[in-house]
C-alpha cells in the first residue's frame, strides 16, 4: 500500500479533501441522529394499545330531540349490535385508546388528600368491555352484570370495583404481582375506596404522548347519556365491511339522533401518530438528500481529482502501474478522506446528541448507531468513488508522451 505518498500528495491539495471530509462528518452527524429519532418515533408508534385494533371501530351518536331517552337508546343499540351477524361484541365507552380524548383520575394506595396519587385513564364499560376491547385478563375476574351500575350525566361518585392495567399495579404497589393485588383496595377521589377485582396485561390511555400512557383502569359504569360512543368488535377481517352496515343500522333504528361516521382503530392510530410519522418522513427525506448530496460531492471531488491528474495517471501507467494499481490509488485516497470524515463524524454525532439531550431533552443515542453510521458512510464513500476511479483506469499510458 502506498499510504505514505498518497497522504503526502494529499496534504499538498488539502482544501478539497478537508471540505469533503467535513461534509461527510456533517452528514453522518445529521443522518445518524435523524435515523435515531426516526427509530425512536417508530418504537413509540409500534407500542401496542392492548386492544384488538384490527377488529375494532368506534361510532358515536347523539340524540337531538328534547325527550330523547339515553338509557333506552343505549339499551336498544347494544342489543341490536350484539345480535348483528359479523359483530363479536360491542360496548358503550367513554373514551377510545389513542384518540387523544378521555378522562383521567388519580388513584392512591392510602385514603386522604395528602397522599400520593397516580394518574390513570378511566374507561367506563359494562360487563362486555373486556370482551369487546379484546384486552387480556391476567389476574382476577371480569365484570359481571351485577357489578355494573348506570352512569348518567349527574353521576359523580365512583363504583366500588375496578380492573386495572398491569402498569397501574406497578405504579401503585411497585413490584407487587398482579395476582396478589386482586382484592386490594385503592382510593379514587382521595377517599372513595375501589376494590381491584382484576388486572389486564395492557390497556393504553388515550394520550400516546403521556409518560404514564400505560396506566389505565376500567370501571363497571354503563353510560346512559344522550351522546354516547360505541366500540364495536367485528369478526376478524370484517371490520371495514361492517363499518357502513353499522352506521346504517344505527341511523335507521332511531331517527331522533344523529350518527357520526365510524372510525376504525387503524384510522385512530394513524391520526394519533400523524405528527410522529410526518416527522419521521421529513427526517427521512432530509437524510436521503444529505446522503445524495454528499455522495455527489465525493463523486465530484474524485472526478475532479482524476481529471486533474490525467497526465499523472498516464505517467504512472508508463512506469508500470497496472489498471488495478490506479483503481486502488483512488480508492485508498478516498478511503483516507472518508475515514477522516467518519472519525470526525463520530465525535460530532455524539456531541450533537449530547446537546440534544441537554437542551431539548431528547433520548440518549444508542452507541451502536455510531459504528453503524461510520460503516454506512464508508460504504457510501467507496460506492461513490468507484465510477471516477474506474474512469481513471481507462487513461491510456500513451498520455505520458502525448500531452504536455
Amino acid at each position: 500500500m502506498e499510504i505514505g505518498p498518497i497522504l503526502r500528495a494529499m496534504t499538498r491539495n488539502k482544501i478539497g479533501a478537508i471540505l469533503i471530509a467535513l461534509q461527510i462528518a456533517f452528514t453522518m452527524t445529521v443522518v445518524v441522529n435523524a435515523y435515531f429519532m426516526i427509530e425512536e418515533r417508530m418504537r413509540l408508534m409500534e407500542r401496542p394499545s392492548g386492544v384488538v385494533e384490527d377488529q375494532l371501530f368506534h361510532i358515536s351518536t347523539r340524540g337531538f330531540t328534547p325527550d330523547f331517552n339515553g338509557k333506552v337508546s343505549v339499551q336498544d343499540d347494544l342489543a341490536l349490535l350484539r345480535q348483528t351477524p359479523g359483530i363479536v361484541d360491542a360496548v358503550a365507552i367513554n373514551a377510545i385508546p389513542l384518540s387523544g380524548g378521555g378522562w383521567s383520575m388519580s388513584l392512591q394506595v392510602e385514603p386522604g388528600d395528602g397522599e400520593q396519587g397516580h394518574g390513570v385513564a378511566i374507561y367506563m364499560v359494562d360487563d362486555h368491555g373486556l370482551d369487546t376491547l379484546g384486552v387480556e385478563l391476567i389476574a382476577g375476574r371480569d365484570f359481571t352484570p351485577a357489578d355494573v351500575r348506570e352512569r348518567g350525566p349527574a353521576t359523580s361518585d365512583w363504583p366500588d370495583k375496578a380492573i386495572i392495567s398491569e402498569a397501574t399495579v406497578k405504579a401503585l404497589w411497585a413490584d407487587a404481582n398482579p395476582l396478589e393485588v386482586v382484592g386490594r383496595t385503592a382510593y379514587i377521589n382521595d377517599d372513595e375506596p375501589v376494590t381491584i377485582i382484576g388486572v389486564v396485561e395492557k390497556l393504553q390511555a388515550p394520550w400516546n404522548g403521556w409518560t404514564t400512557v400505560e396506566q389505565s383502569m376500567l370501571v363497571p359504569d354503563k353510560l346512559i347519556w344522550t351522546g354516547v360512543r360505541y366500540m364495536v368488535r367485528t369478526e376478524p377481517g370484517r371490520r371495514d365491511e361492517m363499518m357502513p352496515i353499522v352506521e346504517e343500522l344505527l341511523a335507521r333504528s332511531n331517527n331522533q339522533r344523529i350518527v357520526r361516521a365510524p372510525e376504525s382503530m387503524a384510522e385512530t392510530r394513524a391520526r394519533s401518530y400523524a405528527l410522529d410519522s410526518g416527522l419521521a418522513k421529513i427526517l427521512g427525506v432530509i437524510m436521503a438528500m444529505l446522503v445524495s448530496i454528499t455522495s455527489l460531492g465525493i463523486v465530484g471531488l474524485a472526478s475532479f481529482s482524476v481529471r486533474r491528474r490525467t497526465k499523472q495517471i498516464g505517467i504512472r501507467r508508463a512506469l508500470g502501474a497496472k489498471k488495478r494499481d490506479i483503481l486502488r490509488y483512488f480508492l485508498v485516497e478516498n478511503f483516507m478522506i472518508t475515514t477522516l470524515g467518519v472519525v470526525l463524524g463520530a465525535v460530532m454525532t455524539v456531541g450533537f446528541n449530547v446537546w440534544l439531550v441537554q437542551a431539548l431533552n431528547f433520548p440518549k443515542i444508542d452507541w451502536l448507531y455510531v459504528p453503524i453510521g461510520m460503516l454506512a458512510l464508508w460504504l457510501i464513500g467507496i460506492i461513490a468513488v468507484l465510477g471516477p476511479a474506474r474512469r481513471a483506469t481507462a487513461v491510456p499510458p500513451a498520455v505520458a508522451t502525448r500531452t504536455v
Partner: protein
Amino acid sequence: MLSMKNVSRIYRTDVVQTHALRNLSLEVEAGEFVALVGPSGSGKTTFLNIAGLLETFDDGSYQLDGRDVAGLNDNDRSRLRNEKIGFIFQSFNLIPELNIADNIDVPLRYRGFAARERKRRVDRVLEVVGLGGRKKHLPSQLSGGQQQRVAIARALAGDPGFLLADEPTGNLDSSTAAGVMELINEIHRNGATIIMVTHDLELAARAERIVRLSDGQVVLLDEGGEGSELENGAAV
C-alpha cells in the same frame, strides 16, 4: 533486443486516418545506442510508444527480447514496462505533488520491492545523477536540468536495460543538455540499450547509429559519428 517487422500504426479519428507508421522495420541489438531523427510528425514518438509498450500497433510484428509482444495483455505489458523499460520524456513528467524520492519510488512500488530495497535504489540512483541532497524537494523546486536528472534517476532505478528517451534535452539549454547527455552516455557505457529521439544532430551524432524516419518509414540508416552524411544534410 528489439525487432520490428512491417509495423503499421494508423490513428483513426472521425474525419481522418493518419498513417503514423507504415511498414516500419527495424532491428536494434542489445547494448546499442540508436538516435532517432526525422521531421515533426514523422512518427518518432509513435515508434517510441510502440517500442515501449505504451501503445499497440495495427499490423506487423514486434519482438522485444525475443518475445512477441502482440499477444500480451494489459497487465503483462505493464509489468514489462515496469521491469525492462525506462522512459525519459521531453517534459520530464515528474509527478508534481510527490517529492523527488517519492517520484523515483513510484515504479519501484509497482515492482513490489520491499521498503529497504526501494530506499537503497532511490539513494543509489540519486547519487548517480548527483542529486543526493534533494530527496525531499518537490519537482517545482528544481531547475529543468535537475528535474530531467530526477526523471533519468527514476528511469534507472529499476535497472531496466532498455531506455527510451523522447527528446530528453528538448526543454534544456545547451550546457544543461550536455550534462544530461553525458549521463545518458554513461548509462549506455554501463550496458543499457538506448533509443533516443532528438532534433539535435550534434547529440544524434553521439549515438552509435542514426535512424531517420520520414512519413512513418525508416528512410536512412546511418552509422553515427563525426563527418556523417546527416551532419551536413538537410535540416531535420
